[in-house]
Every structure is written in structure tokens, then in C-alpha cells.
């Protein structure tokens, strides 16, 4: 029988694995299987450019027309994997068909945690292209939206909905929703962004019930308040799609447990990548399931090359990295940004919206968070890869302040009066009175302080 690689899940982790296999010279058949008839498409635009109406599906296909054929990859759409027998090397698909493989890659990702309060056509979740289509057609100007969950997805949906002219309230039981990821102080800073963007928040109170109310909804909060709205989006996390493996004998524990190169069974015939995978992380000394796009791509590159070139050294995934476009700014996180690490803030006086927070331990950089400062997060990621001292990184960032392109545009009245997006971008850092003191002639000074300033 001909040799073959079977990849279950044709989203970013699965598609990138197929591409990495071919790029590394894998000669045999590759089959991608997905239950979703609309694959392969990418997910980050679903809460951003697609939801906003700026992109069509052609803009975020993961394998644009013709590429699958050129790569020699077969895609089976609308077919669900229902069970796996690793001993016989067979995957059973919905409808009764079975696929034999030499190498299997599990890339089944995660699904949105369902809303505890389902109300058809009024309460939405966002994970798939059909979710995004349904939500997009419900986001009509003038409507009132409640977003339950202030994490990345909630923040991005709130932003896009606001841009489309809805009035939006975000509810989260934490006073600073992103504090789970970045610690309290940075979390509190980020929790002020929605207000500046014209999005209302109820942080520190939980939603207790959402019920149909006339043509709309009403949500009851833990402090007794009742909010009325036309629709709600529930973004309260995900559940890994590992149920179909429960009788396979693989170790499944909130994701498929793998070694540090994605091997799930120890023999090199089953791997897992992306949101469904829980790889061992030598740096953390434990298994971690990471739900970021870049990790999926890194893991796919590692596994694809490993399968195609068993004798080689596959590229191991880099430090965690995630971006989020929310409330008119780009927030980027790299490495460990845990509350228990030391952290200090770097600000650009000429560009008050721009900010970096460096997390360190024992003098070594451990992670970074930036707001509207892509070059700084890149410096952090490169420094993390070299295990560089935090002092060196903070010097690098200080050197970027006041550089011609780094500080080209002090905030002007014209910029402040522009589109909603731009206004929020300029205002994100400090309030206007402080901003106004920056002038073109002022040389940017590194403003490295141990904690955020008071009174904002």
C-alpha cells in the first residue's frame, strides 16, 4: 500500500503542517480532513477584518486556489474523524469510511465554549466562518450589543461592533480581564482602553443570566443590574476538540499530551499540533496547551520537518507570542508575562500611546507586552530567543525612542480629529493634557519607570 500522511483538521495548524511536509521534501500522499465544509480559512480575521466587512473570504484562505493541487494535497471537507486506532493505524470518519495512514497529525483545534444561556439568533459565539457570517449580519448600526467575556475575542468583537456603530457593553467578572495574562498593573492599564474607545464596561461583575426579552435580550448581572440589548456575544474560552480520541489509548488531558516535539504516542506515528495539542515545554517544566496562531505555525513547522527528515533537527517553537487588535491599538505579548515576574515600563514621550512592559527574573528578560509598538515586541522576541539580560533590551528600546521613524509623528489636533480608530490610537496612552507637552523639538527621553504613573 502507498505511504501517506493524514492530517485531521484543515485550519492553520493542519494546513501549515502539510506545507512544511512538502517544503521539507515529503514525497508521499498527504490528505487533510475537516468537518467544516468551508475550510481552509484562517481565524484571526473572523473577529477583525472579516467581521468589519473589510475583507472577503478570498482574503484569508489558507490555501488559495490551485495551491492544494500544486502541493499535491488532497482535502476532504465536511468529514469528521470519529475515532482512531493507533495500533492498526486507521482513522474512522463520519459516514463509516476509514483512512489508513503511516503518519497521523491531529490538528483538530478547539471550539468555542458554548454559551450557558442559549437564545437562538440573539446569543452568538465566534469560532468558525459560519459563526462570523451570522454575527456579521446581526451587527447592524444602532443596535445594542452585550459582550460577555473581556478576553481577546470579546475585546476584538467589541471594537469591531463599535466601529460599525453599535453601542457596546463588555461584562467580565474580573476588574481587569487581561490581568490573568499580564498581571494586575498592566491588566488595569489595558482595562482603561475600552472606555476611551466609547465601549462601556462592567468589569468586576459576572453575568448571571441572559434571557429573551421582547425582540431583544436582557442580561442580569451579579450586582443586580439588568442590561437590555439586541444581541449578545459570549467569549468565555474554548474546549479542545479531543473527544474523538477518548478511546484511542493516547494520553488526552484537556488536549492531546505530547513530548517537546509534538509526538503523541512515543513512536513517531501520531503527532498533535495547534490548539488541541499540549506539548511538553522544557522551559516551563510542564505540558502546556497554547492557543495562539504563531504557536500553531511553529509547531506545524517542527512536526512537518520531523516527519519528512527524521534524521534532521527540526526547528523548535519559539517563545509564546500573540497579538490582538483591540480598541484601536495593537497589543502584543511575548514569552512569560506572569504577575509574579518583575516588570518595568518603557514609554515614548513623543508617542504617548506607545508602550512596552518588560518582564524579568534574575536579570534575564522573560517576556514583554507592547501597545502599538511592533518593533519593540520584535526586539523582545529576539532577545528571548538569545536569553538576553533585561538591561540590554531596555537599552535597545531606549535607543528606539527619538529615532526619526520611531518618533516621527507627535500627536496633532488633526490626528485627534480623525477617524474613531485614530483617535483612540493617539489617546490610548495618556490623557490629552499630558500628550500636548510633547513637541517636535523635544528630544524623546527614555522614560523607564518601575510602575505605571498614577492618576490615569
Amino acid at each position: 500500500m502507498a505511504r501517506s500522511a493524514v492530517i485531521i483538521g484543515a485550519s492553520v495548524a493542519g494546513v501549515r503542517t502539510a506545507q512544511a511536509l512538502r517544503a521539507s521534501g515529503y514525497p508521499d500522499a498527504i490528505t487533510l480532513v475537516d468537518q467544516d465544509p468551508l475550510v481552509p480559512y484562517d481565524r484571526p480575521p473572523l473577529s477583525k477584518q472579516f467581521l468589519a466587512g473589510a475583507w472577503t473570504t478570498d482574503d484569508f484562505s489558507l490555501l488559495p486556489a490551485g495551491q492544494a493541487d500544486r502541493l499535491g494535497v488532497e482535502i476532504l471537507r465536511g468529514r469528521r474523524a470519529v475515532s482512531l486506532d493507533p495500533g492498526r493505524r486507521v482513522v474512522e470518519l463520519s459516514g463509516g469510511a476509514a483512512l489508513a495512514y503511516d503518519v497521523l497529525v491531529v490538528a483538530t483545534g478547539a471550539r468555542a465554549r458554548p454559551s450557558p444561556w442559549p437564545v437562538p439568533d440573539r446569543v452568538f459565539v465566534l469560532r468558525t466562518l459560519s459563526d462570523a457570517r451570522a454575527l456579521r449580519s446581526a451587527l447592524r448600526p444602532g443596535r445594542r450589543l452585550i459582550v460577555i467575556g473581556g478576553g481577546f475575542i470579546g475585546a476584538e468583537v467589541a471594537t469591531t461592533a463599535r466601529d460599525r456603530g453599535l453601542s457596546v457593553t463588555v461584562v467580565d467578572p474580573l476588574v481587569a480581564p487581561l490581568a490573568r495574562l499580564v498581571g494586575d498593573k498592566v491588566g488595569r492599564y489595558l482595562a482603561r482602553l475600552p472606555g476611551r474607545y466609547g465601549v462601556e464596561t462592567r468589569f468586576g461583575v459576572a453575568a448571571e443570566a441572559v434571557v429573551a426579552d421582547g425582540a431583544g435580550l436582557s442580561a442580569r448581572l451579579s450586582d443586580g443590574e439588568v442590561i437590555r440589548a439586541d444581541l449578545a456575544v459570549v467569549g468565555i474560552g474554548t474546549v479542545p476538540n479531543d473527544d474523538w480520541l477518548s478511546r484511542s489509548g493516547l494520553v488526552v488531558d484537556d488536549g492531546v499530551v505530547c513530548d517537546e516535539r509534538g509526538r503523541a504516542d512515543g513512536t513517531g506515528s501520531v503527532y498533535a499540533v495547534g490548539d488541541v495539542a499540549r506539548w511538553y515545554s522544557p522551559g516551563h517544566g510542564c505540558h502546556r496547551r497554547i492557543e495562539h496562531w504563531t504557536s500553531a505555525v511553529d509547531q506545524a513547522a517542527c512536526v512537518g520537518q520531523q516527519i519528512a527528515q527524521p534524521a534532521g533537527t527540526p526547528p523548535l517553537p519559539g517563545a509564546d507570542y500573540v497579538w490582538s487588535d483591540q480598541y484601536g491599538v495593537t497589543v502584543q505579548l511575548a514569552g512569560s508575562t506572569h504577575a509574579t515576574l518583575e516588570h518595568h515600563w518603557v514609554r515614548d514621550q513623543l508617542r504617548p500611546g506607545r508602550l512596552a512592559i518588560l518582564y524579568s527574573k534574575g536579570g534575564l528578560l522573560r517576556g514583554g507586552v507592547t501597545v502599538d509598538w511592533p518593533r519593540a515586541i520584535l526586539a523582545c522576541r529576539r532577545a528571548l530567543a538569545r536569553r538576553a539580560p533585561v538591561a540590554e533590551v531596555s537599552r535597545t528600546l531606549a535607543g528606539m525612542l527619538g529615532s526619526p521613524s520611531g518618533a516621527a509623528q507627535p500627536r496633532t489636533a488633526a490626528a485627534a480629529g480623525g477617524r474613531g480608530n485614530h483617535r483612540a490610537r493617539s489617546d490610548a496612552g495618556k490623557d490629552a493634557s499630558e500628550t500636548e507637552t510633547a513637541s517636535r523639538s523635544l528630544r524623546a527621553k527614555p522614560d523607564v519607570v518601575p510602575e505605571p504613573g498614577k492618576g490615569r
Binding site: 501549515r16 506545507q19 512544511a20 517544503a23 521539507s24 484562517d42 484571526p44 482574503d59 484569508f60 496562531w293 504563531t294 505555525v297 513547522a301 519559539g318 507570542y321 497579538w323 487588535d325 495593537t330 502584543q332 502599538d372 509598538w373 511592533p374 518593533r375 515586541i377 520584535l378 522576541r381 529576539r382 530567543a385 528606539m400 529615532s403 526619526p404 521613524s405 520611531g406 518618533a407 516621527a408
Partner: protein
């Protein structure tokens, strides 16, 4: 020889290309990709293609000339 093209309007400054292939890509002070070398030797093709696949907004491409 592979030629690298970047669509600077599409780029969102996510920086993955510059992590994957630092010899060819960087990010400037405004958060936009910079192509450091437009033509890359054949031997570096696979790395540059990996960088192209690492871009979340498909702002990069490799063409043959």
C-alpha cells in the same frame, strides 16, 4: 533566484517574518515590514518561504525571476 515582495499596506507589524528569517525581514519604527534583501540565494529559499507562511495577513510572497 527567488524574489521577495512585501505589501506594506497589508502588513500589520506582527513581526513573525522577522523572527523566522532575520536576514531578509525586519520591522521599522512605524511597525511595518522592511525587506532587507529582495533577492535571496536559492539555498535560502526554504527559510524565506517559511517566513512567508508565518505572516498572519499574507502580506509576503516569493516569486521566481
Amino acid at each position: 533566484m527567488p524574489w521577495v515582495k512585501a505589501d506594506r499596506d497589508l502588513c500589520k507589524g506582527y513581526g513573525n517574518c522577522a523572527m523566522t528569517d532575520p536576514d531578509v525581514f525586519d520591522v521599522d519604527g512605524d511597525g511595518t515590514v522592511l525587506v532587507l534583501r529582495e533577492s535571496v540565494p536559492e539555498a535560502d529559499r526554504s527559510r524565506v518561504e517559511a517566513a512567508v507562511r508565518s505572516c498572519p495577513v499574507s502580506a509576503l510572497s516569493v516569486q521566481d525571476e
